[in-house]
Amino acid sequence: MSTPEAEVSTQASEGSNLQISDEVVIKIRDMHKWYGAFHVLKNVNLEVNRGERIVICGPSGSGKSTLIRCINRLEEHQQGDIIVDNVELTNDLKNIDAIRREVGMVFQHFNLFPHLTVMENCALAPIWVKQVPRKEAEETAMKYLERVKIPEQADKFPGQLSGGQQQRVAIARSLCMNPRIMLFDEPTSALDPEMIKEVLDVMIELAKEGMTMLCVTHEMGFAKTVANRVIFMDGGEIIEENDPHEFFDNPQHERTKLFLSQILAH
């Protein structure tokens, strides 16, 4: 059995061929966040254009998950601006709802709803948030379940599926809302090794279709294949950002070098 890393890296450099538009979809300016007295994000500045595939990496506790969770307001920032799709994130619930309709999120632990079938998981938000008729929502759900290659599991409960299948359902569930931006929070970290590839394949597919993606991951093969930019965070700051080849072959910062040597050593 070949490792997922090896499989993925054979497709390397495909990422650079994908179109990126000039339109800025996420703009983060001088953003700070504290957990109580702990300064978890420091002066973050980031602009994301439509169609970009950004991989965010860094040691644990560096604030990378917190950063992408701020983008759909699962975490609140205390200073600076976050503008998503021309809507500024404030305490205004209307803006938060508007942004959440446009931004899909995939979690490390899938967070599927265990009391609902796969189909119900997928059709729920379109029905209740977008008032799509049930039949239409289920057709859309089926379409995306086919895209992640598990239409036959539609009537099962999440607890009856493997980890990789669950994560693919979670991706399909997000796609059902037809988001313009997808956030991935360590989507493969909770998976058994043999299931990582099936999830990465779905994500690569998605990237090829031009989805704007921000992905917190340690899958460096994935970063090399599809990312057009890699961001390295440490201690709540963006330390370095570069295109994947420069990033891996020629890291600038000492901390980046150390991090890369640690994760690539084995």
Binding site: R100, M105, F107, F113, H115, G159
Partner: protein, 377 residues
């Protein structure tokens, strides 16, 4: 699956056949060995349990059924029959004579059909709520929502029916009125209190905490006394407020405080990721509660919720303290009859059997529900 291996044959890796389990581990013999005689301690316990069953069950059955007297006009007649046979048993003739009193209390005889109709209406209203495969469930639910008002009208009267004052309510009917109203009323209130206590709004949270802790910190009997006497002091002079209604409110509030804590436990057991997933998809607070959080939290809470319901149902007997005639009250009143003196065992056993049947039904239903809602996670 092949059932035997060939003697002396060696199998290639991956070709070894599946064999049936050894005979001593399956069937009746296997079950007895596994469950009754697996160790010395187990053998001793098995013998002790068998002895206990032998000591308790046959005499109980004799007293309850085989030696019991079901017909007769007085205690002396019962006794005569038993003396003739030289046995001891229950005198169920007493319960038979008083049966209507046990069921209807002092509800006027000519109007008792209304209690019967109400009872069947209640059963019909419960079907779509308790059984999710009811045909036309949605439409039936509308009926279930209307049923309490129809039942209230039937029992109390007015609007063309002879009015029956609530102090005539009694017996099993009173227990059902208090128990069912308490259960139906306290569940939504308890859920609301639990959500309030888990809320981010400090004022709302404070109100819910104070309410829950106050109600839980006071015995139900005290609340019933407050309902029967003190409430008049707080209300504007001249307002009359039906005693039964006050009891219903107090019992409902009391159970809702306990339910709130049970449901809060369920809410806390739901991983934070569920709420986050719901949020990230743009579901509003009430949508995520109704569709995602509560269905899971209530499922986990079923044993605790049913526990509270059973407690509430049995606590309805406390109304005897403020002069209402629940089945125990009816029984005690009946014992004052000189013809039937000294039959308190029969009365209390009868009441116990009634409560046991009601409560075991609730317990079994909760098990059925838990099994049905299990989705393999």
């Amino acid at each position: 699956m092949s059932s035997a291996i060939e003697e002396g044959k060696t199998y290639e890796p991956g070709t070894y056949p599946d064999l049936p389990p050894p005979a001593s581990t399956v069937g009746i013999i296997g079950w007895v060995r596994e469950n009754l005689l697996s160790s010395t301690a187990n053998i001793v316990l098995t013998i002790l349990a068998a002895y206990l069953i032998w000591v308790v069950v046959p005499p109980s059955l004799n007293w309850l059924f085989f030696n019991a007297v079901f017909e007769g006009a007085s205690r002396d007649e019962c006794r005569a029959v038993m003396n003739e046979a030289g046995v001891k048993g229950a005198c169920w003739a007493f319960i038979g004579h008083r049966f209507e009193l046990f069921v209807y209390g002092f509800y006027p005889e000519a109007e008792r059909w209304r209690v019967n109709v109400s009872f069947f209406l209640m059963l019909a209203a419960l079907v779509p709520i308790l059984y999710d495969k009811t045909p036309q469930r949605g439409r039936m639910m509308i009926g279930s929502a209307i049923a309490p008002f129809v039942i209230g009208w039937l029992l109390i009267g007015g609007l063309g029916l002879e009015p029956v004052p609530t102090d005539k309510f009694g017996g099993i009917m009173l227990t059902l009125v208090i128990g069912v109203t308490g259960i139906v009323g306290s569940l939504p209130l308890g859920i609301a209190l639990a959500l309030g206590r888990a809320s981010h709004l400090p004022a709302l949270r404070m109100v819910c905490v104070v309410f829950i802790e106050f109600i839980r910190g006071v015995p139900l009997i005290t609340l019933l006394f407050v309902a029967s006497t003190m409430l008049n002091y707080f209300l504007p002079p001249g307002t009359t407020f039906d005693l039964l209604l006050r009891v219903l409110i107090m019992v409902t509030l009391f159970a809702s405080a306990y339910l709130a804590e049970v449901v809060r436990g369920g809410l806390q057991a739901i991983p934070k990721g569920q709420q986050e997933a719901a949020d990230s998809m743009g579901l509003k607070y009430w949508q995520s509660m109704r569709l995602i959080i509560l269905p899971q939290a209530l499922k986990i809470s079923i044993p605790g919720i049913v526990n509270t319901f059973i407690g509430l149902y049995k606590d309805s007997t406390l109304v005897i303290i403020i002069g209402m005639f629940d089945p125990i009250g009816v029984g005690r009143a009946s014992l004052a009859d000189t013809k039937w003196q000294g039959l308190s065992t029969e009365v209390y056993v009868f009441v116990a059997i009634f409560f046991f049947i009601s409560c075991i039904a609730m317990a079994r239903y909760s098990l059925y529900l838990e099994k049905k809602l299990h989705t393999g996670h």
